[in-house]
C-alpha cells in the first residue's frame, strides 16, 4: 500500500505557472475506504460469503422448487445420498430448509441488529455526551432492560403481539441494545475529555456536530466489532425463540431447524450440523467484514 500511495502523491498536479492554483478534486473518502477494503483479502472473503448468502436467500427459493416443510424422503436419511444434506426426523430435506431458511434468518438478524444499533448508539451517545441527569435517566432505563432476562422479555413481547417476522425482529432488537449503549457511552466519556473536542468547540461546533461528526467516528472501532457480534447473537436468539415456538411456525429459519432436531443430535448429526454451519459461516463473514471495515475506516492504517 505504501508505494501506491506515494505514487499518487507525486503525480498530483501542483500549482500551475501563472499563479492560479490548480485545485485538486478531493479524493473521495468513500472510494479510498472502498479500495482499502478491497485490499484486505480476508474482508473480501467475508463480503463474498455474505453476498452468496444473500443471493441464496433471494434466488434460492426461485430455483429450488421445494417445500421445506414437506416430507420428501425416509426420515433421518444420511447426507450425500439421495438428499445432499440428508433429511430430518420427519423426512424433510435439510438442504431445502437451509435454502428457504436463509431469507428469514438473514432478514431477522440484520433488521434486529439495525434496531440495536440505532437505539444503542443514540442512547449511549446522548448519555455519554451530556452526562448529568440525562445520563442518569438513560442509564437507569438501560439497566431496566439489562436486569430483565432478555428471553422472558422477548417472549412477552412476541406473545403480546402476533408471533411473526416483525414482532420477532422488534423483540430481539429491543432486548439487545443495552450492551452497545453502554459501550458507546463509555467511549463517549473517554473521548469527550480529549482536547480535540475542546478544539472543535473553540471553532464553534454545535453539540450535534460534536456527537455525530467528531466523537462518534473516533469511537467507532470497538463499536463496529460489537455490532458484528450482535448480528451473530441475534441469529442465535432467534433460534432460541423459534425453539420455544414463538416464531411463526410456517416460517423456517436455521434456528428453528436446529431447535426441532436437537433430540436427534446423536442419531443424525447432519440435521443440526448443517444449519449450525450456515449460522457459523454467516456470522463469521459478517465479523470479517466488520474487521475489514474497521481497518479501512481508520486513516492511520490506510497507508500501510
Amino acid at each position: 500500500m505504501g508505494s501506491k500511495y506515494h505514487d499518487k502523491v507525486i503525480s498530483d498536479p501542483l500549482v500551475s505557472g501563472d499563479g492560479e492554483a490548480v485545485i485538486n478534486v478531493p479524493i473521495e473518502g468513500w472510494r479510498e475506504t472502498f479500495s482499502m477494503f478491497c485490499g484486505n483479502f480476508v474482508a473480501v472473503m467475508g463480503a463474498l460469503g455474505i453476498i452468496i448468502v444473500i443471493l441464496v436467500s433471494i434466488i434460492g427459493p426461485i430455483i429450488l422448487d421445494a417445500d421445506p416443510f414437506e416430507m420428501v424422503g425416509t426420515p433421518l436419511s444420511e447426507p450425500f445420498g439421495e438428499f445432499l444434506l440428508g433429511t430430518d426426523y420427519l423426512g424433510r430435506d435439510v438442504f431445502a430448509g437451509i435454502v428457504y431458511g436463509a431469507k428469514p434468518t438473514v432478514l431477522i438478524a440484520i433488521s434486529s441488529t439495525l434496531i440495536t444499533v440505532v437505539v444503542g448508539l443514540s442512547i449511549g451517545a446522548l448519555s455519554g455526551f451530556y452526562g448529568g441527569w440525562i445520563d442518569n435517566v438513560l442509564m437507569r432505563i438501560t439497566e431496566f432492560f439489562q436486569v430483565l432476562p432478555s428471553i422472558v422479555l422477548a417472549m412477552v413481547l412476541v406473545a403480546v403481539f402476533e408471533p411473526g417476522l416483525i414482532s420477532i425482529i422488534f423483540a430481539i432488537g429491543i432486548t439487545h441494545w443495552t450492551s452497545l449503549a453502554r459501550l458507546t457511552r463509555a467511549e463517549f466519556l473517554r473521548i469527550k475529555e480529549r482536547e480535540l473536542v475542546l478544539a472543535q468547540r473553540a471553532i464553534g461546533a454545535t453539540n450535534m456536530r460534536l456527537i455525530w461528526r467528531v466523537i462518534l467516528p473516533n469511537a467507532l472501532p470497538p463499536l463496529i466489532i460489537s455490532m458484528t457480534l450482535t448480528v451473530g447473537i441475534c441469529i442465535l436468539f432467534e433460534a432460541a425463540l423459534s425453539f420455544l415456538g414463538l416464531n411463526d411456525p410456517d416460517t423456517i429459519t436455521w434456528g428453528l431447524m436446529i431447535g426441532l432436531s436437537r433430540d436427534f443430535f446423536f442419531e443424525a448429526w447432519w440435521t443440526v450440523t448443517f444449519p449450525g454451519l450456515a449460522i457459523l459461516l454467516t456470522v463469521l463473514c459478517i465479523a470479517l467484514i466488520g474487521d475489514g471495515l474497521n481497518d479501512a475506516l481508520n486513516p492511520k492504517l490506510r497507508q500501510r
Binding site: V15, L196, K300
Partner: protein, 343 residues
C-alpha cells in the same frame, strides 16, 4: 482592516473583574479572582504563571468554555468590541467562537481530529461561520495553509493529522484559528509540546500573522523568554489572582512582586561562566496552594521570602505609574532580591 484601525483606539477585548468559581462538595472555590486586563488590536498580552494558577482557565472563560458544571463565571464582564460575552446567548457565543475570538491549544497532537483530513477540519471552521460552498472553502483553506507557511498546501490539505509533524500540526491549528479573521487569538502554551527550533518558528509565524492581520494575541505561557520576545504587555498570575501587570520591558527589567522576581530568577542563564562552580538554578520553594483551603491573606505569602505581618490580609492592587499594577503590600523595586529584612 478599517475596522481594526478604528478599534485601535478602543481596546478590542476588555476584561473587567472576572471571577470564576468551581462548585465543590465543600462549597465554591474561587479559581479566578478579580481578573482585569485589556487588549488593543495588533498587540500581544502575555499571561504567565506556573501550572494551576488559572492561566488556561482565563482562556477558557474568554471563549465561554469553562467546564460547567462545576465551573461558572460568577461575576465580571468580558467586552469584545463592547459586546459583553457573558450576557451573550449560547447561540451567539457559538457564532463568535472561531469567528471573532479563537484559540490554539497546547497539544497539536491531540487537538486535531485523527479521522478527518486537515483540509476538512480547517474548512469546517470556515463553513460554520461563512456562507461558502465546499469548493470555495477548499480554495480558502489552501490559501490559509500557505499563509501559515505549510509547504505544498495543495497536497497537505488531503493529508491526515498523523502524517504531519508536530510543528506542521500546530500550523494547521493556527490556520484553523485564523480561518475567519478573528479579532482576538488566544494561544494557550502553543509551543509547549514542540521542540525549541520549532518553537522559534511558531513564534515567528505568530508575529508575522499579527503584523499582517492586526489581530490581538493573548499568549499564555510559563516561558518568560517567550514573553520577552513576543508580548507588549504582561500579566503575572498566581493562584487565580493577577499579581502584577505592566509593559513587558518594565516587568522584566524591574519586577515588583516577589513572585515575578522569583519567576525571572528561575530562568536558566546561558552565558559565559567564569566561576568554577556551577550555580544551582533558583527555585521558588513550595507549591501553588490548594485553592480550596487557602487563607484569607496574600496567596503567595506562604512561599514569599519577603513576607511581613501585613501579608495575612489580601493586599490591594496598587496602581503605579505607566499603568503598572501590583498586588503586594511591599513591592520591592530592586531586581535581585537578597535578604529582605522585614521591618
Amino acid at each position: 482592516m478599517n475596522q481594526a484601525i478604528e478599534n485601535s483606539i478602543e481596546p478590542v477585548l476588555d476584561v473587567r473583574s472576572l471571577c470564576v468559581d468551581f462548585d465543590t462538595k465543600r462549597g465554591p472555590v474561587r479559581v479566578l479572582d478579580d481578573i482585569s486586563f485589556s487588549l488593543n488590536a495588533g498587540s500581544t498580552l502575555g499571561i504567565v504563571g506556573e501550572s494551576g494558577c488559572g492561566k488556561s482557565m482565563t482562556a477558557l472563560a474568554l471563549m465561554g468554555l469553562v467546564p460547567s458544571p462545576p465551573g461558572r463565571i460568577s461575576s465580571g464582564e468580558i467586552l469584545l468590541h463592547g459586546e459583553n460575552l457573558l450576557e451573550a446567548s449560547k447561540k451567539r457565543m457559538r457564532a463568535l467562537r472561531g469567528d471573532k475570538i479563537s484559540m490554539i491549544f497546547q497539544e497539536p497532537m491531540t487537538s486535531l481530529n485523527p479521522v478527518y483530513t486537515v483540509g476538512n477540519q480547517v474548512a469546517e471552521s470556515i463553513i460554520y461561520h461563512q456562507n461558502v460552498t465546499k469548493e470555495e472553502a477548499r480554495e480558502q483553506v489552501i490559501e490559509l495553509l500557505r499563509s501559515v507557511q505549510i509547504p505544498a498546501p495543495e497536497r497537505r490539505i488531503d493529508e491526515y493529522p498523523h502524517q504531519l509533524s508536530g510543528g506542521m500540526r500546530q500550523r494547521v491549528m493556527i490556520a484553523m484559528a485564523l480561518a475567519c479573521e478573528p479579532l482576538v487569538l488566544i494561544a494557550d502554551e502553543p509551543t509547549t509540546a514542540l521542540d525549541v527550533t520549532v518553537q522559534a518558528q511558531i513564534f515567528e509565524l505568530l508575529l508575522e500573522i499579527q503584523k499582517q492581520r492586526n489581530i490581538a494575541i493573548i499568549l499564555i505561557t510559563h516561558d518568560m523568554g517567550a514573553i520577552a520576545e513576543l508580548a507588549d504587555d504582561v500579566v503575572v498570575m498566581y493562584a487565580g489572582h493577577k499579581i502584577e501587570e505592566g509593559s513587558t520591558i518594565e516587568v522584566i527589567n524591574d519586577p515588583l512582586h516577589p513572585y515575578t522576581q522569583g519567576l525571572l530568577r528561575c530562568m536558566p542563564d546561558i552565558g559565559e561562566d567564569d566561576s568554577e562552580v556551577r550555580q544551582p538554578l533558583f527555585e521558588i520553594v513550595g507549591n501553588v496552594p490548594d485553592l480550596a483551603n487557602r487563607g484569607a491573606g496574600c496567596p503567595f505569602a506562604p512561599r514569599c521570602t519577603a513576607r511581613v505581618d501585613e501579608c495575612s490580609t489580601l493586599p490591594e492592587t496598587q496602581l503605579l505609574k505607566d499603568g503598572r499594577r501590583v498586588k503586594c503590600w511591599r513591592p520591592q523595586s530592586t531586581m535581585p532580591m537578597p535578604e529582605v529584612t522585614a521591618s
